[in-house]
Assembly symmetry: C2
Homo-oligomer: 351 residues x 2
């Protein structure tokens, strides 16, 4: 991302590390409180251990974006970072639960370049481990001390409903035609992505603020910032899913096209209705599996018809909106600056 490259944000990795250190003991306690077999699957899903239970210190763990947003959300409203910890644990557990179950639903065999939990342990056990993480997420938050627990739990519940509903839309899109009546409009895709990806990032920031005792107006603004961050993130993911370097993404070239996944670049290209869109439609609607050659052709046509550029614009627009939502809200420093740096850093991938 050119702008990010010109303006490095050296603080962001340190912010992620600080949030991880602050959250880790409570997160480990929440996982340790599960049935031992489920705790083993959870540790694998979190990238803490390999399937034999051996600690895996390198590489497989996520960045912990959600816990960092929760911590910064509390600090940005002038509260102590420790107030955010139950919220940080809850959003990390919900994220892990949703990865476990989404990988089953999407038949994704790989996650962070390792076998997905359902591949490593079986579908039934992965369903169960996801359920346990889901339950534990709510439990940790419901048991949090302080006056704001009820509001925090209600916020998380709304997010869980949104996540599920977004995933339902995403699965239903697979059944719909690529073009003609019933085709998925780019705006429908955006609404799905806001629920499926944006809502949990918004929730992370909002939970930090709620647990920090912020007024509703501030909570809403932070939630909105996180949602737009999520939309920007999804747009970048969609670009990388087609044009990403396999060595970097860990996915095959043209991965989303090979899987006939309906993503923003293709939908917006088709919605444009130009000549290239008319050439795209029959290629996508073919009942044959998408081979390497036709995936390459589809990628070229989507790019030629402006699908890639429109998705870049989409990502930039949502990142701008997210940063503006932060700027327009009275927030405490240095958390506000760290949030801005983190937002930029997270989108700073080669796309």
């Amino acid at each position: 991302m050119p702008r990010a490259a010109r303006r490095p944000a050296p603080a962001a990795p340190a912010v992620l590390e600080r949030a991880r250190e602050l959250t880790r003991p409570a997160l480990a306690e929440a996982v340790g409180g599960l049935h031992p077999w489920i705790a083993e699957m959870a540790a694998y899903g979190l990238g803490w251990a390999d399937p034999a239970g051996t600690p895996d210190p390198g590489g497989s763990e996520g960045k912990g974006v959600r816990q960092a947003l929760a911590v910064l959300g509390a600090e940005a409203v002038g509260a102590d970072a420790r107030d955010a910890v139950p919220g940080a644990v809850a959003v990390e557990l919900v994220h892990t639960f949703s990865l476990l179950h989404d990988d089953i639903m999407d038949a994704d065999a790989l996650r962070r370049q390792r076998p997905a939990v359902w591949k490593a342990y079986g579908t039934g056990p992965a369903v169960l481990a996801g359920d346990a993480l889901h339950a534990q997420a709510v439990s940790v938050l419901a048991e949090a001390p302080g006056r704001h627990t009820g509001a925090a739990v209600r916020h998380l519940c709304g997010t869980l409903n949104a996540l599920v509903s977004g995933q339902a839309e995403d699965l239903r899109f697979e059944q719909r035609p690529w073009h003609g009546p019933g085709a998925v409009a780019p705006e429908e895709y955006r609404a799905m992505a806001e629920r499926k990806t944006g809502s949990l990032l918004g929730c992370a920031l909002a939970l930090g603020a709620v647990l920090g005792g912020a007024p509703e107006r501030t909570v809403t603004a932070l939630d909105r910032a996180g949602r737009h961050l999520g939309l920007a993130f999804q747009a970048v993911d969609d670009i990388l899913g087609i044009w990403g370097d396999p060595a970097v993404t860990g996915k095959p070239v043209h991965a989303d096209l090979r899987r006939s996944k309906k993503t923003y670049p293709v939908l917006v290209a088709l919605a444009g209705g130009g000549e290239t869109a008319r050439a795209l439609a029959p290629l996508l609607s073919s009942s044959r599996p998408v081979d390497a050659a036709s995936a390459e052709l589809v990628a070229a046509l989507v790019e030629e018809s402006g699908g890639r550029a429109a998705t870049r614009d989409e990502a930039r627009r949502h990142l701008d909106t997210a940063r503006r939502a932060l700027r327009d809200t009275p927030l405490a420093h240095p958390a506000a600056r760290e949030l801005d740096a983190l937002f930029t850093y997270l989108l700073d991938r080669t796309w």
Copy 2:
């Protein structure tokens, strides 16, 4: 059950019907608030509709035991039945969620003599529908008005953790040997059944009492009564799983034996260590699938070694303990009498 047969409890079906009528609008609203596709799967899972979405008024709906326990829990502590409704909705949604996911994990293709949700809609969609019901259950309770919401949510969270942990144990039992070191002891089976079956029945009663503002002592007593009811229920189910009449149970003859399911009658027979137990062990441990003839032989040996009688005793003992827990707690009438009648009625099956 001889005692129940001698003392009919005509009130119980009316109690179930009253609780259903009271709970149904809120339950329908909770289901209606889900994504339409998920709502369709939920309506099927609840026995309200067939897979085409056509209302199914007959036969497939559960008895609604859990909602009735929640309603009677509130009335038994002198509160208005309406106070219990969010709790009643929550436990029915949790029950439905757990059936959907357990059927996936146990590869059970039939539920109430219809295809299980995962058979009718696919595994991925059934995982998602279960997640949605799980989230909505907590949400309905967290949004309930009144001073007792936080305590109710915490109670439900504890139950969800117990349910998952019980299901984990049940799945792990499958991997353990039938006899020798590492065999599942009857007490381990009982602890699993208390979590998997007892905890939600206890929670239903407890939630009614919590939402009705009962003191902790009363909540604990009602929770305990429900847990023992669940253990009695599970013992009866285990008897019916081996010796039940297929025309009544809707399952094949010797169903649990054909599936090599570790249940109380067999575990207690093996733990007895007598001559018949020694004859049982090699039959059960064979790597060959259990055919009709060997299932019949196993059933006879389990009965001969006292497994069936011990399980009957187990059921009676837990029902007695459950009824005593009710009697020993100061509860309001007529709810206390209706609870006693309902407990007896629920165990009044031919076993």
